[in-house]
Amino acid sequence: MAKKTPFYEKHVQNKGKIVEFAGFLMPVQFEGIIPEHNAVRDSVGVFDVSHMGEVEIKGSDRVKFVNYVTTNDASQLAINQVQYSTMLYPDAGIVDDLLVYNLADRVLLVVNAANTEKDYMWILENKKYDVEIENISDAVGQLAIQGPKAEPVMQKLFDVDLSTLKYYWTTETNMKGIPVVLSRTGYTGEDGFEVYLDKKYAADVWDMIFSAGQDFGIRPIGLGARDTLRFEMRYCLYGNDIDKTTNPLEAGLSWIVRLNKDEFIGKEPLLAIKQRGIQRKLVGLEALGKGIPRQHQEIHAGDEKVGFVTSGTFAPSLKKGISMGYVNLVHAKVGNKLKVMGKEPIEVEIIKGPFYKHGSHK
């Protein structure tokens, strides 16, 4: 039986089209993917991301332990700093990508909804040092408030000066009396915040944010636009672009892998992969003409299959088809033109950086 997030009733009231996703009943869209997408790029929108999992690590060795199960260097985190990272299997396949919150008395790991149980078991299995591990996902509600107008909206609800809360920093504070963890994070390419709260406050928090955002045309955003927004930034989606059969080096995630830090799970195979070189690379592919590449389609150079599409969509901000896929290294150069084998072959070009280059995040 699919779970409901603490905001489920709000989605029904707002006439969200509800689908099952990662075991949760979630709104895939409200008024439409494109208007919702544009609202976040131009102003501000609110995503229910309560389906995401939260695993809390306490104990005196919490940072040391997190540093052992993740690839980025958690030991470099100041209190209240946030870090994007991955967890690996011993063969360097990816368990999940996640956020690491280094709070004053605990570390919070925020993981993908579909992976929560798997991740929690993985972390327990690899437990060492002085730590306590708890999956608190069911008790936590989470909203993402994203867009260039996110700060003026949220500032109405906090006494702290939000302009001092920088990208990838967090604070434990209160929102008009309700205790929350607030971070300047998101997965849209726009400025914005994520807020974690006890689910019993969900309705109040939702109402406060929507009344604060009324003047900015704030609106709820479904999973459909969440995907197009992350995709235009070329952010990876676990299950599509990365999974246990891919390693972070070929996925372009070497910036969150610190091979020079102490022992961590997956380090040895990564060193070996680095030494012999990756065989394929996750690239961004922009359609040159019409046609939209779709997941699982083959990528060809001439008549030769050189890769496959992991995600494909129409990009509302660019008004063209975009995709990501793994391509054999020799063909993976920026500027290279390839074909995605849709019903009609679609000509695509490998691009550098995000597809959408005008995001407001700082």
Binding site: T228, G291, I292, F314
Partner: protein, 128 residues
């Protein structure tokens, strides 16, 4: 609930067909446009193309999904709606009106008997 209008026939592939003498106007049903959501590209057959009922003769791409357009009847394409190729969202906004897709000259009037009535189509989508 999706809108199923009277005065037209339907196919299992979620097209509506309006018969006007020996010409059929075809389009996508309200149910189909709402399932696809945000249509961003419509490719229609060339005028003059001969079709057999059931042929894939065009493509509709939405942000997250793609579907073929299947000919509901055999015949020759006499006109396509250039407005929807220029503004594909018309199919979402007005599927039974301005969002029509193409017209064909009916080759075999007996094929019309194979199409679904509004009641039959309603039943089909309610089962989904």
């Amino acid at each position: 609930m999706a809108n199923v209008i009277d005065g037209v026939k339907y196919t299992k592939e979620h097209e509506w067909i309006k018969i006007e003498g020996d010409v059929a106007i075809e389009g996508l049903t309200d149910y189909a446009q709402s399932e696809l959501s945000d249509i961003v590209m419509v490719e229609l057959p060339d005028v003059g193309r001969k079709t057999k009922a059931g042929d894939a003769i065009g493509t509709i791409e939405a942000v997250k999904a793609v579907t073929d357009i299947y000919a509901g009847l055999s015949g020759e394409v006499t006109e396509v709606n250039e407005k929807v190729t220029a503004d594909p969202a018309l199919v979402n906004k007005d599927p039974y009106g301005e969002g029509w897709l193409y017209k064909i000259k009916i080759e075999d009037a007996k094929e019309v008997d194979n199409l679904l009535s509004p009641e039959q189509y309603k039943e089909l989508i309610e089962k989904k």
